[in-house]
Amino acid sequence: MAAPLQAEAPTWTALAPALALVVTGLVLIVVDSIDPDDGSPALLAGVGTAGALASLGLAGWLLAGGTGQPDTGGAIALYGDALVVDGMTLFFQALFASVTALVVVASYDYLYDREYQAEFYSLVLFAATGMALMAAANSLSVAFVSLELASLPSYALVSYLKRDTGSVEAGLKYFLVGALSSAVFAFGISLVYAATGSLLLADVYETLAGGANGLTGVAGVGIVMVAGGFAFKTASVPFHFWAPEAYEGAPAPVSAFLSSASKAAGFALAFRVFVTGFPLGAGIDWVLLFQVLAVVTMTLGNFAAATQEEVKRMLAYSSIGHAGYALIGLAAFTTADGGNVLGASMAHLMVYGFMNTGAFLFVALAERWGIGRTFEDYAGLADRAPLACVAMTVFMFSLAGLPPFGGFFSKYFLFAGAVEAGFWWLAAVGAVNSALSLFYYSRVVKALWLEDATAEFELGPTPTALYAAVVFAAVATVLLLPGFGAVIETAQAAATAVLP
């Protein structure tokens, strides 16, 4: 095993993946200032992708090197315990980096004739930085700021198509609900501070574990409101109202970015804060809270998606549904073997990241080709773009949780974790929802393969970068079935390490 990095290099290098992203963002701004009217989009996209891949490489290398794992000296706390780098952080940073890379590559073709491309890429990179730091946050202060760092560029990105009413409306709604949620989150943090007198998760855990002597009420409200903040970021009920419009209105790569990376970031922060911050007995049994959230989110997401007319909006609701599944990670958390189900949820987020990004990028491809958005417009697409349709079929069936694709294992490990923790009814609700999800996912497949084309249309030149991104995502989804061992093992090891 290569000698772990931090043996000789200074500790801040553990933050390399996040630094790579922020540096790339700044470089993009510098490049933009040099030739303001987007002289060479390829350069911009190239820099963005390079930065993302660098971050991915670093995160992967650190993870492989065992940085922050229990066997190599435990998690690395930095800057007065404000940041922590351990298995979970690197795992999520790798996920954000890969999704960002995919989105940037795809956007190169998607924005081929738009101006302000530099802003687009820099905003995406900065949002990714925010997410990377969310994964590393070890105090509520850093959590709040990094959450805002991830959200603000997203508001701008969603309303990027300034002249398109859909994008603007989406941006507006996303911003308004976002602002409201961030206010709730801030108020929650203030209450937790009121109850415990500190913002560092370790201290909060200590104070609450020692019995909040009379302040349980305040702590309880605080915890619920903090959970609300995360619920917004992960688009779980009741803070999900922005999601359908935002994903549908936003440019497809941005929807992909939001529904995969930022949702995963929300979960990373939620796992960290709740597992290390709030002890189970502290005035509120937050496992039950997440069970309620999980069930309602799953059910609303899947049932609403069943009768949608537009593919992109259906994907939005399906993304809410999947948020519900990922919530099982916390909903079935028991201090005994909570690591397993948490790890399963992390693995599910990784696989979901790939397949969901892929699906939205396929929608981007369809938009780029000028095909309409409803199921009827997708009819008979397989004859014209077989490879892309195969990729979409892989995404759809993987999201539905069918073998031989990655989504199968991740979903079933989640259900197995729930059953193992004794909440078989949670798995049952998940099962019913995933069966219903099979119905509407196969509506897409039916449209692509089974229906015959209604209108005769020519697709025009295939956008290579976007195509490559979609195919790469599909290959990753398929490979995640045999390769799922690595993912689940690292995830569960990291999760058990996080337990206090």
Partner: protein
């Protein structure tokens, strides 16, 4: 265009119903907070300079070598750096969104608070 139009008036009417949700929320919060029992406030150390303490907290300064009383606090250097990046991003986003592309003129929106354009487009009444 009577001048009454420009005087701020309290807008009452049916759309206040959603407000009840806010009142309910307040009721719940108040109920919880009034039941909470707090001990004696610890207060700050006599003669400690709060602003200096905030400064030290802001940059994780090791207060050991510093003279005078210092109020303890956590380190916020990471938050400080991050807030810088956030503000930069906010400016980028805001400028990008607000910048008027060549296509849409829109004229002197600045002087009259946008009323002229509104009247031209919306036909007068408020």
């Amino acid at each position: 265009m009577s001048d009454a139009g420009s005087r701020p008036r309290l807008k009452l009417g049916g759309h206040l119903v959603p407000g009840l949700a806010a009142v309910a929320l307040f009721a719940v919060l108040a109920a919880v907070f009034l039941r909470a029992s707090f001990g004696e406030a610890a207060g700050f150390e006599e003669g400690a300079s709060i602003t200096a303490s905030i400064g030290y907290a802001m940059f994780n300064v090791d207060t050991g070598a510093v003279s005078g009383a210092v109020v303890p606090a956590e380190g916020f250097v990471v938050a400080f750096v991050l807030i810088a990046v956030v503000l930069d991003v906010a400016i980028d986003g805001a400028v990008f969104l607000a910048k008027r592309d060549e296509g849409e003129g829109g004229g002197g929106v600045l002087a009259d608070g946008g009323r002229e354009i509104r009247d031209r487009l919306r036909g007068g009444d408020d």
